[in-house]
């Protein structure tokens, strides 16, 4: 039985992700880890309109009937929880970040907030980029070192102690990419204002 407070957290974060254009109507998924259990969004449920029955509980290691209802990306969430200390995972389809992931292997913020919070976001690529073990391993491996990674052409996976922390990294990433795009579109010489900015590449 999922605590009412937990449902409220899912509902609010899911709604905010949709309102912020981080997912389309039925895209993306979010989960939390409670010990050896995972609570994850139901497959096909709309993040912007989550109901209590849209929260599916299943095992971190073992399958049970919950896997028949859980998000198709359950395999990725499990891999992340096993490889990292994360207690929450947010997967989104941020449009600007996806666009930038098509042309670069890492996204390095140029704005102050993005530099402060994220430093660098690696872009990973696999042949089958939806719900496969190959994808799960690539994402989980990236998240051992970074709190948010981009799957090229697909979307972001972010970790946190809570859903709102993972959501923060996701929303910050999209802001980072929007600013990069604006700056690029302006086509003016950037005045570097950050000390040691070259070092972000090595983060």
């Amino acid at each position: 039985m999922v605590d009412e407070r937990v449902y409220e957290m899912f509902r609010e974060i899911g709604r905010d992700m949709y309102v912020h254009n981080l997912v389309s109507s039925h895209g993306g998924n979010i989960s939390v880890r409670f010990g050896d259990r995972i609570i994850i969004k139901r497959r096909g449920a709309m993040l912007g309109r989550l109901k209590p029955h849209d929260l599916i509980e299943t095992g971190l290691e073992k399958n049970d009937s919950g896997v028949a209802l859980a998000s198709t990306e359950l395999i990725v969430h499990r891999a992340i929880y096993k490889a990292t200390p994360a207690l929450a995972v947010v997967h989104a389809h941020p449009r600007r970040a996806i666009s930038l992931s098509l042309s670069r292997d890492e996204i390095i913020p140029i704005d102050n907030e993005g530099s402060y919070l994220l430093k660098k976001i690696p872009v990973v690529e696999v042949e089958f980029a939806s719900g496969t073990p190959q994808m799960a391993n690539a994402i989980a491996d990236g998240l051992r070192t970074y709190k948010i990674v981009m799957m090229r052409g697909h979307g972001s996976f972010a970790t946190g102690q809570t859903l709102d922390e993972a959501f923060q990294w996701t929303d910050a990433l999209e802001e980072v990419c929007e600013i990069i795009m604006y700056a690029h579109a302006m086509n003016e010489q950037m005045i570097e204002y950050r000390k040691h900015s070259d070092s972000y590449k090595n983060w």
């Binding site: 407070r5 409670f34 010990g35 207690l87 070192t145 709190k147 102690q161």
Partner: protein
């Protein structure tokens, strides 16, 4: 060798032998340093047949790879031993300058064995280690001893015990740089049992770094975090750790009168704001610390350090006292005699309740500020009732027929957070490997301050995961070794990157936290080997049955369901024993053969 110095110093006080052995690098990469390295060495050296005051018990002083590098708060070291208060694995941790000088003398750790025939002190310099007679220092206070041995934080650091350690007060502290304390669980009493009065260090050898440029960049980014965080950049420097006094009281989680209530009507009188307004001279800092939470204060009787939050609480709210002058003077005495202020205050609070209930014949009553200073002196010198209080609250309460009045876990007195108002904190206390303690993980950030994000403090479901993460994180910080206050602003990710740049060993954040899990499980195995069971993962019945007051009115701790979730989440069985799969995953299966 980068990050680590590569050497372990061995001193046998019985024979006088002094040797140096190479640091086992496999052990160091797995258990890092500090507390982790100490626990791993203790596992081999001190089995269940060894009594805490036996010459066969050891004291392990260990720096971490980060110690002495200049990274924020990289001043700390840990002391590991078998605790005379709890009988558990113990490490206590301290800041100041001693850890930095010790590592710069060329060592990662020092193992002290045996017992000297007469009082001695050890002097460690880069060109040699010597054992000196300390007969003339025996009986002298911490400040007297520090001065006599030439305490000079920039050149020469003195670590010592006071009369409490000599008299084997079970919660005696090891003090360094005059006022810093490795106190919980009584390592000072073990040092006293060895007739070891002090350890003096001088060292200037810099720690080598694998990638200095990258290390400095991580340090630079960490500075941004500390500056941007209002707790580390404003609240702690201005008000000290007691800045949380009014916050904790407002939510009804400030244990009052031996945890009979969880709201103290006079909390503001002992708060960080009042300390700053009434007695603060200035704030000071340990080496390489930009936070500077330490309080240099003055009263009508003199100047000194403190009180920190826990001390202001233990001699304050826990005893129903709001006389800041008396609390501060008592804190000064504790520092000079070398005692843990949490256990001292909480044991006095226990005696006050025993007295008020007619079980103990004494003058101690809640609110009797006039008796505080004399009582802690009596404890330190084991005079009169003080001799009984020197055994800690669990033994005291049991002696007078009311063991339930000891507010302790595994005989270690709990600190200043009421588990009824912070559900996760209760689980944390109950499962802490060294007993009731907030430094083996702390839910203050998650449940109260919103660091990194606020979670519902009264929620039960899912709390085990947070507690476990905080426990692993604390084990890492105690092993690298850094101050947990830095972790308020600097996430584990930064420490992992600093460690990687420093040592050249790859420590992704997840792997670093897993090292914390390895340390935690090894400590658990140690306690199981000592005979501890699931029954010891408990809280005093008061917290499970008697409702809290104030902002948590009506709440009790829901430890049962949280503990079940905790064991499952840890991969332990229903008795709290790590399962084989978990031990294999952590590389502990072979070690655990004699326990599991």
């Amino acid at each position: 060798m980068k990050g680590w110095m590569g050497k372990v110093l061995n001193v046998d006080l019985g024979s006088g032998a002094i040797t140096t052995t190479p640091l086992d690098m496999d052990m160091a990469t797995q258990f890092i340093g500090g507390r982790g390295l100490g626990a791993r060495l203790l596992w081999d050296l001190v089995g269940p047949e060894v009594e805490p005051f036996s010459p066969d018990n050891v004291l392990i002083f260990a720096a971490g790879p980060l110690t002495a590098t200049g990274y924020q708060t990289s001043n700390r070291f840990s002391v590991s031993t078998k605790s005379p208060l709890t009988g558990t694995v113990l490490d206590a941790n301290s800041g100041g300058w001693w850890g930095m000088h010790f590592k710069r003398a060329g060592y990662d750790a020092m193992i002290v064995r045996g017992r000297a025939e007469k009082p001695v002190y050890i002097e460690i310099k880069e060109d040699g280690v010597t054992i000196h007679d300390a007969t003339h220092l025996w009986g002298r206070t911490v400040s007297e001893t520090s001065e006599a041995l030439g305490q000079n934080k920039n050149k020469r650091s003195v670590l010592c015990i006071g009369p409490a350690g000599e008299n084997r007060v079970l919660f005696a502290a090891i003090m360094n740089d005059a006022t810093r304390a490795a106190a919980r669980g009584g390592p000072g009493a073990v040092m006293g049992s060895k007739n070891l009065k002090a350890i003096v260090v001088e060292g200037k050898t810099r720690v080598e770094m694998d990638d200095k440029e990258r290390f400095r960049f991580v340090q630079y980014e960490s500075t941004k975090m500390l500056k941007a965080n209002p707790v580390t950049s404003q609240a702690f420097p201005e008000f000290g750790t007691s800045v949380v006094m009014n916050i904790i009281n407002a939510i009804g989680a400030l244990p009052t009168r031996n945890f009979q209530q969880s709201y103290f009507e006079h909390a503001d009188d002992i708060s960080g704001e009042t300390i700053t307004e009434d007695i603060l001279i200035k704030n000071t800092a340990c080496w390489a610390c930009p936070i500077a939470c330490t309080r240099l204060t003055k009263t009508s009787k003199g100047e000194g350090e403190g009180p920190e939050y826990e001390s202001a609480w233990s001699f304050g709210a826990a005893c129903g006292i709001h006389d800041l002058e008396a609390i501060t003077n008592t804190n000064y005495i504790c520092n000079d005699l070398g005692m843990d202020t949490i256990s001292a205050g909480s044991t006095i609070a226990c005696a006050m309740e025993l007295t008020e209930r007619g079980l103990l014949d004494s003058d101690l009553r809640f609110g009797r500020a006039d008796l505080l200073e004399q009582t802690v002196e009596d404890i330190g010198y084991r005079r009169g009732l003080g001799d009984e209080l020197a055994e800690g609250s669990a033994r005291l309460a049991a002696k007078y027929g009311a063991p339930e009045l000891s507010m302790s876990v595994k005989k270690l007195e709990m600190p200043a957070y009421d588990p009824r108002g912070m559900q996760g904190q209760g689980l944390l206390f109950a499962t802490s490997n060294r007993g009731g303690c907030h430094m083996r993980g702390n839910m203050l950030g998650s449940e109260v301050l919103g660091l990194p994000k606020l979670i519902d403090r009264l929620q039960v479901q899912g709390k085990a995961g947070y507690v476990i993460l905080h426990q692993h994180s604390a084990a890492v910080l105690d092993s690298i070794v850094a101050c947990k206050f830095a972790n308020i602003a600097i996430a584990e990710e930064y420490f992992a990157r600093a460690l990687t740049a420093l040592t050249g060993v790859s420590y992704p954040t997840g792997d670093l936290i897993k090292a914390g899990e390895r340390i935690w499980n090894l400590e658990r195995l140690y306690n199981l080997r000592e005979g501890f069971t699931r029954d010891d993962d408990n809280l005093p019945p008061r917290l499970l049955n008697e409702p809290a007051t104030g902002g948590s009115e009506g709440q009790v701790s829901h430890l049962g369901p949280m503990l079940e979730e905790y064991y499952r989440a840890r991969g332990w069985d229903a008795n709290g024993v790590p399962k084989r799969a978990k031990l294999e995953d952590l590389g502990l299966a072979e070690l655990a053969l004699e326990v599991v």
